[in-house]
Symmetry: C2
DNA sequence: ATTCTAAATGAAAATCATTTTCATTTAAAA
DNA sequence: TTTTAAATGAAAATGATTTTCATTTAGAAT
């Protein structure tokens, strides 16, 4: 948590009990949630907590690299913890079964990129890779 | 267009003047548009045309593989023509500058997939690759 | 060509995730 | 302790998308 407090300070965000609680919840779960799900959790811990506070904080956390926003089913968005806080290039993979999320920085996209640039005649500037699968835990249970 | 009419028939969708017009517009532009942008175009051609008709048709066209839905800025969605109507695995690339969209089926993902599966211990079921770049035309103009 | 039927459509209202407003509270700097 | 900008709650606003329902229409049946 100290690591995350540092990131907040570095980005001039105040360290509030609610922010700490949100981050802890993500850290303890390694799963992705909707803002509404986070709100449901937070309502148990704080007697006053607005949904807009959740939205505002999730958005800021994504901006500073603590969270990642993934698009789920039905045009809804989810947030999950991103451990790659060093801003290094990386991608995410989620478990379809338990909603676990994790990031990985292995990305040998260069070769594929060159091939695609050749056939499409595009100069590729950004690549977004998003993976879905079954995590080891869920695989074992099945 | 005959090709697209066939696809409509195969999927038991009626061939209406509005549907033909929407598809033609995509075919002639090779760009991605919001439902609202399509509506603006259609209002010039039909004195009665509801936005919900646009939404309904774009959604259906995506389902049968004529269009692809891409997420743009600010949680808004765009649709672009997809020439790979054979349902073969493929991806899309868009031009940041002129909003051109094109699909390509070259996808050497297998090797990268194995590497990622090893380090993440996930069994990868789906991969989504989405590319942004500058098309040849725009590159030349720059 | 005419009739029939399910699908398509327009207009308006509903939905619902997300954002904004504004008055109040609070973290943390002075 | 005082000060100040940031954070927050509550409520309203926004805005994209969906739904409802009465009417129209494409295409099949006759
Ligand atoms: Zn799992
Ligand atoms: Zn990469
Ligand atoms: Zn271009
Ligand atoms: Zn692929």
């Amino acid at each position: 948590m100290e690591k995350y407090k540092k990131i907040l300070r570095k980005n001039k965000l105040k360290i509030t009990p609610k922010r700490v609680s949100i981050i802890n919840y993500f850290l303890q779960n390694n799963k992705y949630f909707t803002p509404h799900q986070i709100w449901e959790f937070m309502k148990k811990k704080f007697k006053k907590i607005g949904l807009s506070t959740i939205y505002r904080n999730l958005e800021k956390f994504e901006k500073i690299g603590i969270l990642t926003k993934v698009e789920g089913e039905e045009n809804r968005f989810y947030y999950g913890i991103c451990k790659k806080t060093n801003k290094k290039h990386h991608h995410h993979i989620i478990c379809i079964s338990c909603h676990k999320i994790r990031d990985f920085d292995l990305c040998n996209f260069e070769q594929l990129k060159k091939q695609i640039e050749k056939i499409t005649e595009f100069n590729i500037k950004e690549h977004h890779i998003f993976l879905k699968g079954i995590c080891l835990n869920c695989e074992r249970e099945a």
